[in-house]
Subunit: 144 residues, 2 copies
Amino acid sequence: MLAEKSTVLDDCRIIDFPKVTDYRGNLSFIEENHQIPFQIKRVYYLYDVPSGATRGGHAHRALHQMIIALSGSFDVIIDDGLRKQSFFLNRPHYGLYIPPRVWRELENFSSNSVALSLVSEVYDETDYVRDYQAFKRLVLNGWQ
Amino acid sequence: MLAEKSTVLDDCRIIDFPKVTDYRGNLSFIEENHQIPFQIKRVYYLYDVPSGATRGGHAHRALHQMIIALSGSFDVIIDDGLRKQSFFLNRPHYGLYIPPRVWRELENFSSNSVALSLVSEVYDETDYVRDYQAFKRLVLNGWQ
C-alpha cells in the first residue's frame, strides 16, 4: 500500500490557546512565535456579519494566518488544490492556523459572530490570489 | 491663568480604525506601526465575562496597549496618578490606546462582551504594577 502523499493541508491545524479561567471572565493569550508560528504584523476582524453569510474565497502566496471565532461560530473550508477540509470554529480559545498557498472560504456564520485574524504580513494586494482557476494553475505549476 | 500641565493621560486616545463595509459584514484592520504606534507582540482577549463584572486594576512600566470592544461594551477607567478619565467602548472599530504608566480598570461589561487587547510586549510579570499604592509612589517618584 502506498503512503498518502502529504500536502499543504496537513500543515493546517487547530491550536488550543491557553485559557486563564476566572470568575470575572476567561482570558486567552497569543504571543508571536510562541502560541503561533509567525510574527503578528496585522490584525483584522469581521463583525456585523449577517447570519448564514459567506466570506473569503482567496489564497495567499506568503501570508500565514490564524483565524479565531471570538464570538459566535462559522465554518472555514480550506483547500490546497488537491484536497479540501472543513473546520467548525465555535470557541474563543481555538484558532485555525492556515499556512500560505491554501484557498480559504468562511461560511455558515452564526448571528453575532466575530472572526479575528492574526496575520504575518501587512496588506499587500500582490500576495492575494483571488481567482480560483488561477489558484489551481499555481498549484499545478508548483507556485512558479 | 496658568496653563494646565499635560500628563500621561493626554496620550491616551480613541483611535478609529478603518472600516470596510460590505453587505456580507464589516471588516476593520490594524497594522503595527500604522494604525497603532507600536509593534504587536502579544494578543489577548477577555470573554465569558459576567455582565457587570470588573477587570483590570494594574499599570505597566513599559507596555503599550490597545483595547477594543469586539463585541458588547464596557468602560475603561484610566488614571495616571494625577487625573482619572473614563471611556465607554462599544464599537468594534474604536480602540483605546493606553501608553505605559497608566493604571487601568475595566468595568460595567455588557453580556456577550469581548475585550481584545493588542500589546507591545510579551508577558513579563516584572512589567506589571498590581498594587495601587505602589503605583502612586512610582508616580510621585517619577517612576524611578
